[in-house]
């Protein structure tokens, strides 16, 4: 019973994960550019996520950063990353990237047997090239040229799209790691892993996130732009940041005034 309460508490922590922010009710003038036909509703959900973030994830990440020794944080991050490798293997395979799929499984077993069950990223130390960064089902679908659909802000989970929602569902239920613990423990295990992942990820960028948030003119628009740029990269946008050469600023010509 006590454990159950602990797990629900952890579930609450996951509320922290969605991105966050506030501000303006922008008229829906840029639907085509931002692919955000539900902007009004999305902004409301975003405000909710920011409120949760401010009250839960941000303080928890700060607390985690202060009390957890650096070596413990690294070990937890490595463990969580390693437990994602079997799912990465599946998604890279679906995406048709056999090399990254093989590296993901090699990394999983290498760290399991030679990295103290994954607490040490032995594969990263031994590999001559950086390991693949990981791929969700949304990313696999993007690489298979499936279109994302419009921008959708999910409560708790943050920015998404119809393709992203399918990806989230698949990643939740298809992860082989979930089938290792006994059935009753799966939900607890999943929530704990998710909560720790979110807190650890936020802790790493806490100062930068706070500053970005404090300086944002419109945090909602900022988060949306970052989301779409990441999606474009998944869909195979050009190197150099996934931004095509003709998308950036051209030299300024005084005659343009």
């Amino acid at each position: 019973m006590r454990n159950e309460h602990a797990m629900w508490f952890l579930f609450f922590l996951t509320l922290l994960s969605g991105c966050a922010s506030h501000t303006s009710k922008t008229p829906n003038l840029r639907v085509s550019e931002d692919n955000d036909p539900y902007e009004k509703a999305n902004r409301s959900i975003f405000r909710f996520n920011v409120m949760l973030d401010d009250r839960a994830l941000d303080p928890l990440a700060g607390f985690y950063g202060r009390v957890m020794p650096s070596v413990a944080k690294t070990g937890i991050n490595n463990e969580i990353a390693n437990l994602k490798q079997p799912l990465n293997f599946i998604n890279y395979t679906i995406a048709g990237d056999g090399s990254s799929a093989a590296q993901s499984m090699t990394r999983f077993f290498t760290n399991l047997f030679f990295g103290f069950l994954g607490l040490v990223d032995a594969y990263k130390e031994l590999s001559p090239t950086p390991p693949p960064t990981g791929l969700g089902f949304n990313g696999a679908l993007a690489k298979r040229k499936m279109r994302s659909g419009p921008y959708i802000m999910l409560p708790i989970f943050g920015p998404s799209s119809p393709r992203g929602i399918v990806g989230l569902g698949f990643d939740t239920f298809a992860d082989p790691i979930y089938f290792v613990p006994r059935p009753k423990q799966r939900i607890y295990y999943g929530l704990a892993r998710y909560a720790l992942d979110q807190i650890g990820s936020r802790q790493k960028i806490l100062q930068a996130y706070r500053q970005t948030k404090a300086e944002a003119l419109d945090l909602y628009a900022l988060v949306r732009s970052i989301y779409w740029q990441n999606q474009r990269k998944l869909e195979g946008a050009p190197a150099g940041g996934g931004v095509a050469a003709d998308e950036g600023p051209a030299p300024y010509d005084e005659d343009d005034d």
Partner: protein, 202 residues
């Protein structure tokens, strides 16, 4: 943050007019040398904890003047609202934007003392521009891929027009944000500039 943040989080720049008549061709060595010199200078000053905030701001202003095409960045960031601005407002906007970038970036660099960077490669664009890919190592928070988009013009020489951190273009991100605010303000330019001037104020 990870993304975000990493994005991080963080953000600034540009809007798009088509590619340019003003650009001149440059060699990859030229692009590499430009970023190497400017980057070393910027990192040595901005991440030095013992330097005063004022001296770091002054140095970054100098680097910005010498290395960035603020007007290109500013025009790109406004998107279609560029045409709403009159000449006087554009000048005021450029000045405000530059001040905002200085406040914002000097503050951000201060959070990463001891950071270093190295050039990974140079991609020459088909439009006379170049993208220099670098890796920035930040002790305690990992490494980031940072790309610098460059153009060379007869009048200004080589200038940076966009910074891309882990796939996130500062220019595109800023354009999205600025456009949203301008739409929200129903195109009120003076109010927009006023808001911009408050970003990063202590």
């Amino acid at each position: 943050m990870t993304r975000l943040i990493r994005a991080f989080a963080v953000l600034v720049f540009m809007c798009g007019c088509g590619a340019s008549m003003a650009a001149e061709s440059m060699t990859d060595e030229e692009a590499k040398g430009f970023i190497n010199t400017l980057g070393k200078e910027a990192f040595s000053v901005l991440t030095k904890k013992e330097a005063s905030h004022q001296s770091r701001e002054a140095k970054f202003r100098e680097i910005l003047d010498r290395g960035f095409d603020i007007k290109a960045i500013g025009r790109f960031s406004l998107g279609r609202y560029w045409k709403v601005f009159n000449k006087e407002q554009k000048e005021r906007y450029f000045t405000t934007l530059k001040d905002m970038l200085i406040r914002s970036y000097v503050g951000k660099f201060a959070d990463f003392p001891g950071s270093t960077f190295r050039i990974v490669r140079v991609d020459m664009g088909s439009d006379a521009g170049a993208t220099v890919l670098t890796t920035v190592e930040c002790p305690g928070s990992g490494s980031y891929n940072v790309s610098w988009k460059l153009y060379k013009t007869k009048s200004k020489g080589v200038r940076i027009t966009d910074v891309i951190v882990d796939n996130i273009s500062m220019g595109i991100t800023q354009r999205s944000e600025f456009s949203s605010i301008m739409a929200n303000l129903n195109g009120n330019v003076d109010e927009f500039i006023k808001r911009l001037s408050k970003i990063g104020e202590k």
